[in-house]
């Protein structure tokens, strides 16, 4: 039973982390390697909240706000010229990530720090004593997915965004301001990335490079999902399960590379990944 909970919570965490990247990839077709840095920004937002003594719950909106602003600035200044050059976009966003990491180091120092968890302790669930916070993450991941799905399918912005995802050229000729859609998407994606950073921080620690290890896993997950929220949920569960099973029954270290290898193989066999053809 605790194994199932491990899988569910791991999948939820992966999903939350990759959600922002999915939106950016779906709309703009670029993988933003600054995603890790946005997570780090969120982590430090949570740290600030802890240091100022505010309620740890405030770290979530604080992180989202920080990410929103950061993403908006990045999109405006750096990403506009790189839409047609996806490989260069990866590199430029990686460079941005480095810059953000260094700025954070200059401001906060390079040592590892810790933020407070809004919810601590364990509760008894289905016969197993399990971390409350991890369970909360499952709920939050589902909530986030729901919110994004609502935005995409229930609002005008979402409709327009889906049009751009499907066929940007056509949307433009129909009068859609795709530049604004991209701007909104990247900002939203960055906000989600920062929120994810604040979400994972209570489980571990905050340092200027905390986002990097998450980057590749999120990247893989997004490649496997195309631009579908649902297929990403499926991918998250499959990959999360694989990682947990390998970690538990074989070796925690091998578990660390399961996601990367599995994703590479799946993409080789089926380049569209989990998305419906």
């Amino acid at each position: 039973m605790s194994l199932l909970l491990d899988i569910a919570t791991t999948a939820a965490i992966l999903y939350a982390v990759a959600l922002g990247l999915l939106i950016v990839f779906g709309v703009m077709g670029i993988i933003s390697f600054a995603h890790g840095a946005m997570m780090t920004i969120g982590g430090y937002a949570a740290l600030l909240v802890t240091q100022e003594g505010w309620s740890p719950w405030a770290s979530f909106p604080a992180a989202a706000l920080a990410g929103l602003v950061g993403g908006a600035v990045m999109e405006r200044i750096v990403l506009r010229p790189l839409y047609r050059r996806p490989l260069d976009a990866i590199l430029a966003t990686w460079g941005l990530g480095i810059v953000i990491g260094q700025v954070i180091t200059l401001v906060f120092g390079r040592q590892v720090q810790f933020a407070q968890s809004p919810l601590s302790g364990a509760i008894n669930v289905l016969g197993v004593t399990y971390s409350q916070y991890r369970l909360l993450l499952v709920a939050l991941a589902i909530l986030l997915a729901g919110v994004i799905a609502f935005i995409l399918h229930g609002t005008r912005l979402g409709l327009v965004t889906r049009a751009v995802i499907a066929n940007e050229g056509l949307s433009q000729s129909l009068g859609v301001n795709s530049a604004r859609v991209r701007f909104a998407s990247f900002s939203l994606g960055s906000a989600l990335a920062s929120l994810a950073g604040a979400l994972v921080v209570p489980l571990s620690s905050v340092d200027p490079n905390m986002g990097v290890p998450w980057l590749v896993g999120a990247f893989m997950l997004v490649l496997l999902s195309g631009s579908s929220l649902v297929s990403m949920a499926g991918a998250a569960i499959v990959l999360g399960a694989a990682q947990v099973l390998v970690s538990t029954y074989l070796n925690a270290v091998l578990g660390g590379m399961t996601i990367a290898i599995l994703a590479a193989i799946i993409l080789r066999i089926r380049p569209t990944g989990f998305a419906r053809a």
């Binding site: 971390s131 538990t248 925690a252």
Partner: protein, 382 residues
Amino acid sequence: MRTLAFAAATLAALASPAFAQAPIRIGVPIGLSGANSVVAPSVVQAAELAVAEINAKGGVLGRPLALDVADDGSGATGAQRAFDSLVFQKKVDALISMETSAARNAGLPIVTRGKTPFIYTSYYEGHSCNRYMFVNAWVPEQQEGPVIDFFLKDKGAKTFFLIGSDYAFGRGMLAYAKQYIETHGGKVVGDEYQPMDAGDWTAIISKVRAANPDALILSTAGGVPNVTLTKQYRAAGITALVGNLGVDEGTAKTMGEDANGIYISGSYYTSVDTPANKSFLEAMRAKFGTALLTPNDLSVPQYEAVYLYKAAVEKAGGTAADGVIKALAEVSFEGPRGSVTMNKQRHAPLTMYLGQVQADGSVKILKTASNVDPGEQCPNLQ
């Protein structure tokens, strides 16, 4: 921000009183980033206090001491650069520092090449030997017995689960623990490692849950893995006895209420009730005020090592390596940990304490043992 403070402190140390000669440079390669970054600042503070005190009294052989701090990233490649920079670029006279075993092992070849005296001030897994290195902190033979004996005899624990970081320290400590447990009537039901920088202990915690041991023995690297592991197993509701072989008081404070009830063993806690310790703590408070970081079992040996180096240089009449090396095996220093002499195969007999972390982060001392021998650490070095 901190770099400026260090620079200012060093300048201040140099500025007063007026010295005629060039300073004696002490290199401090230390983990300002990475796994040790939680505890490193406290170690630097201890070094700064020692240097300030010594310089205020006229320095060493009329020369002031100066600190050169370099970040070793808490790992091998970073240590290589830090040691390289200190030994060959800054050309320090001695290295005094606490580091992860990975960093230390990577730095030793450079120490040998540069013929630089090196006082290693960190507790570690033992049996690291180098012509130029002395150790004034504890090794497993001094530290592990008290904790494990306490669990076996006083708490009646029979089954043990061992968790560590996958590097020399983690493996070395737990190898000793396993052998000690099994020769004293206990049983090891699990033995798991993760890389030094790993932050996700979920799978191992699930295994602990399944094995349901009476006690956990932990030996992870530096500050970060300690905190993440403790946070996570607490959050998972694990209630076994916990003996953490690798956590110092400062890191325990960072863990907050998660650390409550953990058993630890070491050669220094702030609650040690001796006049030397009291005056040391007062001096620290006077110098750093509200910026003071809890002195701990990693930072106090650093303070004492600077004094030991001073004594050795004075005894040898100079900073030349050969003379200093010979003298370091003979000199003593009376400090917060009592009398420390590195005369047992480059290691030092120490007074060891068994303690339990309290809810407010302080350590309640349960047992004390004096003059505990480090055992056969470097039989091939004279």
